[in-house]
């Protein structure tokens, strides 16, 4: 793969689109879970909010914060994909993603999820950027586990 290929893969149109027009961006009233993440390497922050309904399903999900294209796109993609899932499904998806961006086997993902998340796979070629891609996801995990603060380091 040439440099320009890697670059194109890292900054695919869909990633740039997510980062320029993030989905589910903003605060969330009546959130049942909130989390705040911080990347001390660059000072980027992300907040995640979600409302889990009586059946353990993610009824609503939002994120706020600013960061690099990778972290913004990753957060936006995450909210898109988690909305409507059960907590168990969300857990599985998140673990799969965390493997995927490190270039590891993400076998637990369904074929469809794998395909949608695969736009982020180019990050695995940039070890110093993996933390950007995972910040929102780690934050979400710790919000669901009851913590409020996460950081990638």
């Amino acid at each position: 793969m040439t440099i320009d290929d890697s670059l194109r893969e890292l900054y695919q149109e869909v990633i740039l689109d997510h980062s320029r027009h993030p989905r589910h961006f903003g605060p969330l009233e009546h959130a049942t879970h909130n989390g705040e993440g911080y990347n001390p390497l660059c000072g980027d922050r992300v907040k995640v909010h979600l409302a889990v309904d009586g059946e353990g399903r993610i009824a609503d999900i939002k994120f706020e914060g600013r960061g690099c294209a990778i972290s913004q796109a990753s957060a936006s993609l995450m909210t898109d994909m988690l909305a409507g899932r059960t907590l168990a499904e969300a857990e599985k998806l998140m673990d799969g993603f965390l493997h995927l961006v490190k270039g590891e086997d993400a076998g637990s993902l369904s074929e469809d999820d794998h395909e949608r998340l695969n736009v982020m796979a180019g990050v695995s070629a940039f070890p110093m950027r993996v933390k950007c891609a995972t910040l929102a996801w780690h934050t979400m995990k710790s919000a669901l586990e009851g913590g409020t603060a996460a950081k990638t380091e």
Binding site: L7, C42, G43, C68
Partner: protein, 413 residues
């Protein structure tokens, strides 16, 4: 898009062949190393001096009677003399070796200021300090109730000595100020600050981790009380730094780390301490690194320092000029006479993304808060992209940077 005139400044020919790493390729492109403010590359002279010493003269220092121990002790103490000469200290006894610039500042915090500061006493510092010249003072706030008084910088990043003076009050116990900002490149009016502080009886610590690299330092002329330097930015090894301190301060300071070499006598019930500088150098020091530092300072001093400075200033001006074409790029820090560090923000592009795209062009720059979060806050940014220039950089390096930035804009903008 690029500035026209490309001839290298006549006065200075960047000694690229002394730095083997500059010949390597990164992602298939020739390396353009613009991250020397984070750490400079090492000339062969430094690596060879360390290797020759390690394979020919190495032993532990100070307490040995045998030949190698004598040779090693001599080399280690010669390094102290070398640093003293480099900073124009009165004597080598005013130089304490540390593991780096950060530890040099912590030494002042632990061994000098912590015994002289009470709740409500003040430490004056600027918003452009590196975390290494902030956190040790935060410790004294957290642990002893000291108050940090922050001096702002002007919009162009310059520091007004009078603003520092105005912040020094009757309870000020120390002024801690950088000699050169690692983000803005600002050179501070250190001599004027020292004069103002001394007029009020307040000592001054200067963080010289960047300053000593780019300025010719004369601690006697500056009359500064403490001056911290770090080896790896001075084209020297990692693992070594030094604190210059006036002899009278050192004599009055209590030990920092305890261990071998820093004692006079140890019994079960009592311990007495060696005179400075030994008092502050517990344990086996960075011996091989001291030899490397000597070689680094010899290397740096083998050039006309003013010519090096002019060369770096030329690179900065050349880059600055070229960047004017990019109306989406905002340079932060434009103080008159500033050193060769260029920080900027790109509209709609995050510093990390910019740096990644530059990296793929072979260009190494830093992106982030540069261990200067209060300064980021001051300028209302989360991070910047920073290119920093050293004696081995060329106008071609700048050209590659500019091309890379244009490409980043095309991809991300």
């Amino acid at each position: 898009m690029m500035a026209q005139a490309k001839p290298r400044t006549a006065a200075f020919d960047p000694p690229r062949k002394d730095f083997p790493i500059l010949e390597r390729r990164v992602h298939g492109r020739p390396l353009v190393y613009l991250d020397s403010a984070a750490s400079a590359q090492k000339p062969l002279a430094v690596l060879e001096a360390m290797e020759a010493f390690a394979t020919g003269e190495y032993a532990n220092v100070h307490r040995g009677v045998h030949f190698l121990s004598g040779a090693a002790t001599q080399a280690y103490e010669a390094a102290r003399e070398r640093v003293a000469a480099f900073l124009n200290a009165r004597s080598a006894e005013e130089i304490v070796f540390t593991k780096g610039g950060t530890e040099a500042i912590n030494l002042v915090s632990y061994s000098y200021l912590s015994q002289r500061i009470a709740a409500g006493d003040e430490i004056v510092l600027t918003v452009m300090e590196h975390h290494s010249n902030i956190v040790p003072w935060h410790f004294l706030r957290e642990r002893q109730g000291a108050v940090l008084k922050w001096v702002d910088v002007a919009a162009d990043g310059s520091l007004d000595a009078e603003a520092v003076d105005a912040s020094i009050g009757p309870r000020t116990k120390l002024v801690a100020v950088t000699h050169m900002s690692n983000v803005l490149g600002t050179i501070t009016p250190l001599k004027a600050i020292v004069a103002a502080a001394h007029a009020k009886g307040v000592p001054v610590l200067a963080d010289g981790c960047q300053g000593a690299v780019h300025e010719v330092v004369d601690v006697q002329d500056l009359d500064v009380d403490f001056y911290a330097v770090t080896g790896h930015k001075l084209y020297g090894p990692t693992g070594i730094g030094a604190l210059y301190a006036k002899r009278a301060h050192l004599m009055a300071m209590r030990p920092f780390n305890g261990g071998g070499e820093m004692i006079q006598e140890v019994t079960r019930d009592l311990v007495t301490y060696a005179d400075p500088p030994a008092r502050f150098e517990a344990g086996t020091p960075p011996i091989i690194e001291a030899v490397g530092l000597t070689a680094a300072l010899d290397y740096l001093s083998s050039f006309d320092r003013e010519a090096v400075k002019a060369h770096e200033a030329d690179l900065l001006a050349y880059a600055r000029e070229a960047l004017r074409e990019f109306n989406w790029l905002h340079v932060i820090g434009d103080a008159p006479g500033k050193g060769a560090i260029l920080s900027f923000e790109c509209e709609g592009m995050h510093a990390h993304d910019v740096a990644t795209i530059l990296d793929l062009e072979g260009v190494a720059v830093r992106a982030g808060h540069h261990c200067a979060q209060p300064l980021m806050e001051r300028f209302g940014v989360a991070s910047t992209t920073r290119a920093s220039f050293a004696l081995y950089n060329t106008r071609e390096d700048v050209d590659t940077l500019i091309r890379g930035l244009a490409k980043a804009r095309k991809i991300l903008g």
